[in-house]
Symmetry: C2
């Protein structure tokens, strides 16, 4: 795994979370492989299969407001051949009235190299309690 490849994988992963934060369905369109085999689990829910169902779920999330922000206090990435898997803790902020609230999720993102770009083939996020330690900068564990 070259450092260049690792940077590219992390940029693709960042682009996915930027799409969520900004509610940008166009950017979401650009980050997924668009076939029937892709898979997505939103926290607490079963797997969605295929681009059609996955896109619809993001549209529903964005149309109901979506999160205010998502930070990734902990990231780890591995690459083997044309497949990468990125493991993140997601710190998701919501505004409830005037109050800012946080929930945490643990996610596994599988990306596939297609041509010279990395695309998501699987996103699996699950609710977790708040982590015991707060990490201030991303730590890349390989």
């Amino acid at each position: 795994m070259s450092e260049k490849q690792l940077v590219e994988v992390l940029k693709a992963n960042e682009s996915f979370y930027h799409a969520i934060k900004t509610g940008d369905i166009g950017q979401m369109d650009n980050i997924w492989i668009k076939d029937a085999n892709i898979k997505c689990v939103h926290p607490g829910w079963p797997m969605l299969y295929g681009w059609e169902a996955v896109r619809e779920s993001w549209e529903n999330i964005f149309s109901s407001g979506g999160p205010l922000d998502i930070e990734l206090p902990d990231i780890s990435a591995q690459i083997l051949g044309d497949i990468a898997w990125v493991i993140c803790i997601e710190k998701i902020s919501y505004k409830v009235g005037n109050e800012l609230q946080f929930v945490f999720a643990q996610s596994t993102n599988i990306l596939k190299l297609d041509g010279s770009n990395w695309f998501l083939v699987l996103h699996h996020a699950s609710p977790i309690p708040a982590p015991r330690r707060e990490v201030t900068s991303n730590e890349i564990l390989q």
Copy 2:
């Protein structure tokens, strides 16, 4: 992806769940890559990093009784090069007094081909509601 490879991946995945069902730590030892990069999420908890932490978590689960049974009513698998990812719904049975209870989890298992065998590098299970449909036989979606 050859059918032979798919069968081998599914057998490795089956061996993992057999180890859980029977509380067999020796079989669990045989199914994981044993390095600091492997990762495991039990339902509702953050990722555990590295073989030492992962093995300890299974020992704890087995010593507290573990599940009575795990069925996999829904399985899907994909392979690219030396990496495979298997997506399962887990139907987990527990005995509470004389009553049999079920919980469901959605899991993502990433396996790596090492020599001629497939080994787990990541297991991510998250709690989900009971699926709306009951699948009677495994469906392999590729």
